[in-house]
């Protein structure tokens, strides 16, 4: 007998999603991601110690900035134009946090603008001190980098 097509008893279409391969995939993903996860993200702050290469190559009027630490919360800023001092400022604060805020304010308001004109700092040099720890030095580097001063060097002579 010929089987009638389409007239047999209608079964409900099984629309259930097969979860097994889905769970397999998710478990594999979780295992892989957990094994390759980096929980402590180590970053880097670049220091360019070779002065007189990149900056000297350009013949533009270049400004250089010297940051000389006196104490962990006191620093003097010397702005130089073609080697001659143009501006000298002192930054002093009571606390380390307040010092960084003040330094940021002085750099953005008094160093990066001269006679209402924005200037670019070619190089910045930090002179460290024995009393200033490495963490504070990094905070100062952060403040400079926040103000788009990226060509930074640290004076490598033994400090006082």
């Amino acid at each position: 007998m010929r089987k009638k097509v389409g007239l047999g008893s209608k079964k409900d279409l099984n629309a259930d999603l097969n979860l097994t391969p889905f769970i397999d995939l998710l478990s594999t993903c979780v295992c892989f991601l957990l094994m390759t996860a980096v929980w402590i993200e180590v970053g880097s702050v670049e220091i360019k110690q070779s002065h007189g290469t990149e900056a000297a190559a350009s013949k533009k009027i270049s400004y250089d900035l010297d940051l000389v630490y006196k104490t962990p919360t006191q620093l003097s800023l010397n702005l130089k134009k073609n080697g001659r001092r143009v501006r000298s400022l002192k930054v002093k604060a009571e606390t380390a946090e307040g010092f960084q805020i003040k330094l940021n304010q002085v750099i953005s308001e008094k160093i990066l603008t001269i006679k209402n004109k924005a200037i670019e700092i070619a190089t910045a040099t930090i002179t460290p001190r024995t009393t200033v720890n490495y963490g504070q030095l990094i905070e100062t580097l952060d403040t400079l980098r926040k103000n788009n001063i990226t060509n930074i060097g640290v004076l490598s002579a033994g400090g006082r």
Binding site: G43, S44, N133, G135, Q136, D142, S156
Partner: protein, 172 residues
């Protein structure tokens, strides 16, 4: 509760138990233990999303035990390069190998220079015809004096490692 040899429920839970007993008494069925997959899939999906968000492709750099790196908000991605670390105990390590006391090395840097030359030579062997980039990762404890770090940087610069990457903990 049994009343005139019939089961009477006193609360909803008891009613449910009685119903189950009645159903079971009609004909024994095989016990089916179904795992609630929906919540499990939900949890897995959330885990995968979280882990994918925190996934980083930056190279993994080992930090010496007891070394506390300073935090930075302007940190960039770390480069794969030799790692020089200055520990709080005063020891200097190059690629996890002890070189010596930092104070002694700063007075007589010959030992460190020798190790740096080995790295430089092996780099030159593997990259013939290319200029040495002079990249090095410097890890130092945040409590160490900045002058010690700057003096070590001076030694590195004289050893042609001029692109110094100061290792920090990146804050997002």
């Amino acid at each position: 509760m049994r009343l005139n040899s019939t089961l009477v429920a006193s609360d909803a839970f008891e009613k449910h138990l009685i119903n189950r007993k009645r159903k079971n008494s009609w004909g024994k069925k095989a016990a089916v233990y179904a795992l609630m997959l929906t919540s499990m899939v939900d949890m897995f999906s959330m885990l995968v999303v979280f882990l994918l968000q925190t996934f980083s492709t930056s190279p993994e750099i080992l930090i010496n035990k007891g070394l506390v790196l300073p935090n930075s908000i302007t940190a960039s991605q770390v480069q794969e390069a030799p790692v020089l670390s200055i520990n709080k105990d005063g020891n200097l390590y190059l690629d996890q190998k002890l070189v010596g006391l930092t104070k002694k090395i700063l007075k007589q840097p010959n030992g460190l220079m020798k190790e740096l030359n080995v790295i430089k030579n092996s780099w030159a062997d593997h990259h013939a015809g290319l200029a040495f980039p002079g990249e090095i990762n410097l890890q130092a404890d945040k409590e160490i004096s900045s002058t010690v770090v700057s003096q070590v940087m001076g030694v590195l610069t004289s050893g042609q490692f001029q692109s110094i990457q100061l290792a920090v903990i990146g804050l997002r």
